[in-house]
């Protein structure tokens, strides 16, 4: 979501609304150190033009971030989802430990996880529905 909110395309509109709602404190959203690592990794790679400064801004917006604790790691080990990679398991487990039931991500690998509904940041209708809750 953070990457698409920073992207100069029509896809950004819904993400931008969500981002500004977070900035104004109108919605309650959290992110984790593992997500921040991914954003920063993309930024530092230089392979997506125009992301300079996104990780620091994301941190400024979302701090304090949720941490990948021992409890999160143990919960991640227990997730049964063959398609889900290690970092994605950390994301899902972070949600589970913190009683978060909705995740905003374009990654379809999160579909079908028990107790976690995915909202696609590129789906304006879905994002607006989330904002209306």
């Amino acid at each position: 979501m953070f990457v698409y909110a920073a992207t100069d395309t029509p896809f950004r509109d819904a993400c931008a609304r969500l981002m500004l709602a977070l900035g104004r404190g109108q919605v309650n959203g959290r992110t984790s150190s593992a997500v921040l690592e991914e954003v920063w990794h993309l930024e530092l790679s230089g392979r997506v033009r125009g992301l300079e400064g996104l990780a620091a801004r994301t941190h400024a917006l979302m701090r304090p971030v949720l941490l990948v604790t021992d409890e999160v790691i143990e919960r991640a080990f227990a997730i049964h989802a063959p398609r889900l990679g290690a970092n994605d398991r950390f994301h899902a487990a972070t949600c589970s430990v913190n009683a978060i039931t909705k995740i905003v991500t374009a990654d379809t690998d999160f579909d079908g996880l028990e107790g976690l509904d995915r909202v696609d940041p590129l789906d304006a209708v879905g994002v607006d529905r989330l904002l209306a809750e």
Partner: protein
């Protein structure tokens, strides 16, 4: 380590909220209180938060499809960071 003891009074309703949240998360009431302290005092100011959001939506990064973002992440994780630095310093 927790070395400081803090004794506070709360309302019956606040205590009920704390116990409900602790029960929901399966943690102690003490942890809920500690997390709430971190959350309140570790957060950015409202002005800084809004500024960060406005700066993000003003960026003009190029669009990359979700599958491509995943692929870039996977490839970059496998690459030593020193290789990235070498590429950047190359003429």
């Amino acid at each position: 380590m927790f070395s400081e003891r803090l004794q506070i009074l709360v309302t019956r309703e606040q205590r009920r909220h704390l116990e409900e949240q602790a029960g929901r998360l399966g943690v102690s009431v003490g942890k809920v209180v500690r997390d709430a302290i971190d959350e309140t005092l570790g957060a950015a100011t409202p002005a800084a938060r809004l500024r960060a959001a406005e700066e993000i939506v003003a960026m003009e990064a190029v669009f990359v499809a979700p599958e491509e973002l995943e692929r870039i992440l996977e490839e970059e994780r496998e690459r030593p960071f020193s290789a990235l630095l070498d590429e950047r310093s190359a003429p």
